[in-house]
Point group: C2
């Protein structure tokens, strides 16, 4: 999504050019290019698919809507397996129209996970509940903190359900480092993603994720938290940013890779 | 602020017309009209000033900037005393330019409270730390949850420092009800404010507070939480909303008062 302006073949090329060895994919472009075709293209280039984004949207009350959501999530699990990634990231869903019941919505997420967890495990795929920043609690994701995500995930085996840690969503939360340790202790950090926080937020607050290094988040510190919790998996950079999307995608990818190297690997204290 | 389009005398008139017996004031319009003059006007109309908004902005690192902030807060305390309110609401401040250190910023808030708490108490004024929604953590207030606000407040006597509970800022937080109980147990709920949550959020996310009843927050439930915690003080409605500001202020005030009566006092289950 960081460089959604690139076609699938352009993306694969650009990753090779920038020394990027793994890529997180979103379902829409994958399905547009073809799931099998994407799998073949990516595998042929020696690229790893780190995660598939996104399943979820489990909070509907209407039974037909719920059945549709579950069916769609089974397809997402199958797509993840075809792409060769072991992780499906979940955006759990907001409040249904007219509802003010956050607790009930969270319980319906648990119900969905109970159905999907074994199906995912059968496909070698782990579900990663991504807590979204509380500014998305009504319309996108009623799971707003790592603590809430873990309260849900821990009802299920770790090989079925864990969490996705995205710096953009958790950076403000003084409890998050302890929750990362909690997640690590039971092997539930299934994804770690970087994006930076900058203001003012744009209307709708969806496309304001700043390029890493351009915001207020101490990204290196968060990397330290997940590593201290035993995380050794890939680190993704996931930006939704109108200004970045308007630029040349190859240039953005190269810039992002350079920032990543600078922020994640330079020694502290070096100017 | 809900009806900032009204002049001070218009506001006082409109409150009388709508049966509103108390009003929370902001410093800017009070100073524009004159602090003594406002006190006289409001007192003459039999209106109570429920709170003064706002002190705070304690997070600067620069010593001169810090000294200026403390001096300004002493003035705010004096103004509150002149207006006859016992509560000064604090917006604690965001990250200073270039800083990524939330913890350090929160500690500087504690330092400021240590200086201002006794001064406030000497004037019969209590400081109310208002946790702001985490979407304001970088630019406005590094205190994002009631738990964080209470961690700060409890370092000081309750008659010096407590918290302000605003539904708009805490509604998403499943820990907030327990924190309200914690605040009530030590007599630290110094203010309770209502605003409703609706999306999409506007650019800058400052003026999207919805009229009570127009959003997703179960306001009655939150009233129940503060009452269960022993709160018997005033309930304010604080909206920043461009659409409401563009309308006739008297009409907005009457509508808000009617909504308040309907939402807060009708029996549950009544259609």
């Amino acid at each position: 999504m960081t460089v959604k302006q690139l076609s699938m073949p352009e993306l694969v090329d650009a990753c090779a050019d920038s020394g990027v060895l793994g890529v997180g994919l979103w379902r829409e472009p994958v399905r547009a290019y073809g799931v099998e075709e994407t799998a073949k293209l990516v595998r042929g280039a020696g690229l790893t698919v780190t995660t598939l984004c996104r399943g979820g949207f489990f909070t509907a009350i209407d039974p037909r809507e719920r059945a549709r959501a579950l069916a769609d999530n089974r397809r997402a699990i199958e797509e993840a397996a075809t792409l060769g990634t072991d992780t499906l990231v979940l955006v759990s869903g907001g409040l249904p129209a007219g509802s003010k019941d956050l607790h009930g919505a969270r319980e319906r997420i648990a119900d969905a996970l109970a159905e999907l967890g074994p199906y995912a495990e059968g496909h070698g795929v782990r579900l990663a509940i991504e807590p979204l920043h509380p500014m998305y609690a009504s319309d996108r994701c009623v799971v707003s903190t790592l603590a809430q995500a873990l309260d849900l995930a821990e009802r299920f085996p770790a090989q079925q359900v864990g969490v996705a840690v995205d710096t953009y969503h958790v950076w403000w939360d003084d409890r998050a480092p302890a929750q990362i340790a909690r997640a690590g202790a039971t092997g539930r950090i299934h994804s770690f993603q970087l994006a930076d926080w900058a203001t003012p937020l744009p209307e709708g607050v969806l496309t304001g994720r700043a390029q890493i290094g351009d915001g207020v988040i101490d990204l290196r510190e968060w990397k330290g938290h997940v590593e201290a919790a035993g995380y050794t998996g890939p680190i993704e950079v996931e930006l939704f940013n109108d200004a970045l999307w308007a630029r040349d995608g190859r240039e953005v990818l190269a810039e992002t890779a350079a920032r990543f190297a600078e922020l994640m690997f330079r020694r502290r204290g070096r100017p």
